[in-house]
């Protein structure tokens, strides 16, 4: 199964194995990672699973939908061009090794 890395705001990192068809958010919460809140449980409604995608990976992710784009404007931490909602990033084999940075806060 593909593995992805979350880098916390303090610089520490966690590498997590993902399950079949799982989103980055689901992998993070299943491993009990701090830094991803996911209040809405993955329904693209709350913007509390905000991540900054590592630059080298950014172009390799599928484009975001309008609702994700709108939600990111309301994220607690500052939005950057690398911002995505991790519940909308489904981990496929070609995303093995993906690096996601966590913001300082989610609410």
């Amino acid at each position: 199964m593909p593995a992805i890395t979350f880098i916390h705001s303090d610089g520490k990192s966690d590498r997590v194995e993902t399950g079949d068809g799982e989103s980055a958010m689901q992998a993070a919460t299943r491993h009990g990672l701090d830094g991803i809140l996911a209040e809405c449980g993955g329904n693209a409604m709350c913007a509390t699973c905000h991540v900054y995608v590592d630059e080298s990976w950014l172009a390799r992710l599928p484009a975001m939908a309008d609702d994700e784009d709108a939600l990111l404007d309301g994220a607690a931490a500052e939005r950057s061009p690398a911002s995505r909602l991790s519940c909308q990033i489904v981990i496929t084999p070609d995303l093995d090794g993906l690096v996601l940075r966590l913001p300082e806060r989610q609410v």
Binding site: E39, C40, G41, N43, G74, A75, V107
Partner: protein
Amino acid sequence: MSASASPVSTGSPGIPHLDVDPFAMNFFADPYPTHEVLREAGPVVYLDKWNVYGVARYAEVHAVLNDPATFCSSRGVGLSDFKKETPWRPPSLILEADPPAHTRTRAVLSKVLSPTVMKQVRDRFTAAAEERVDALIDKRSFDAVADLAEAYPLSIFPDALGLKPEGREHLIPYASVVFNAFGPPNQLRQEAIERSAPHQAYVAEQCQRENLAPGGFGACIHAHVDEGAITATEAPLLVRSLLSAGLDTTVNGIGAAIYCLARFPDQWQRLRDDLSLARGAFEEAVRFESPVQTFFRTTTREVELSGATIGEGEKVLMFLAAANRDPRRWDKPDSYDITRRTSGHVGFGSGIHMCVGQLVARLEGEVMLTALAKRIAKIEITGEPKRRFNNTLRGLDSLPVTITPA
């Protein structure tokens, strides 16, 4: 109560038939033992009393919520099947709708209640919470339902919507009718609908564009008419959704949180030690008490769910509250733990119909619990809490408390 597996013609063989009435007063008084019976009987059960299927385990509740093409909402999310019966009011354009119609109306309400909008109202909601706590500290002893759980949302939500000052006393009774009407034709539902005319008249009037103050959520919904997202006849019905589902739910959510924190003083202390836990304390109360207990769906085709075959046109009752305490999903499900990872609970539902106002609820809950924990050392229950009975909502009618200021 029995859990016998008697195959009868109305249900497929192998599905346990239960003679449970989840809309009876004795059930409401203490639903937990019956929730356990429902969960343990099987992944899918049949309730002979109302001729409906039921799901009470987390996995099946989550699966039904997330397959709206099979388990539709347009035939009503209560017991009444809109294909066979005339709805008691014009159906909701969002709650009682399926894609693609639902997708368009949902997008409008999502924008009106977005995280960005929450940032704009946060300071106002916080100031009102602090004001309310000041008033409660002066009182010392009060009813935590009327004076807190109801008074706080009433002090902000109707204004945030842009409602006129007159007639707001209809709001909670109207919501009570709406949530009773999802239930079966029992006394609660019949009486609620019989008395609903004045509340319906008020709501219909308030939903019109000219009656909604500029800048409020209501006016924002109507503004989407100008952009062509919705029609002028749809807008009032979408405002009605906020009037139906935006107040009584948060009253019961905040009430649940106060009731939990008053019953579990160790959790109150944890919150006082770390105010950043306020949002989690509210969320965990929504899981633990599940202010919205149940919703129905209707099958659009024959479907197999966890080995059970359900025919087309059948009502399926989802026990959200039982799913939120399913030991298959939750560690120590009957403990109220404000540090729990609650993500995935179905207190706000899940999938395309997940509560569109969830961010408003969380904001209200968070700022109110923060304001309370900052100023109050102790909350003591000083009298017997009285339950309020509703076919869908779980909450209290009164909760006498005495507080000790910090």
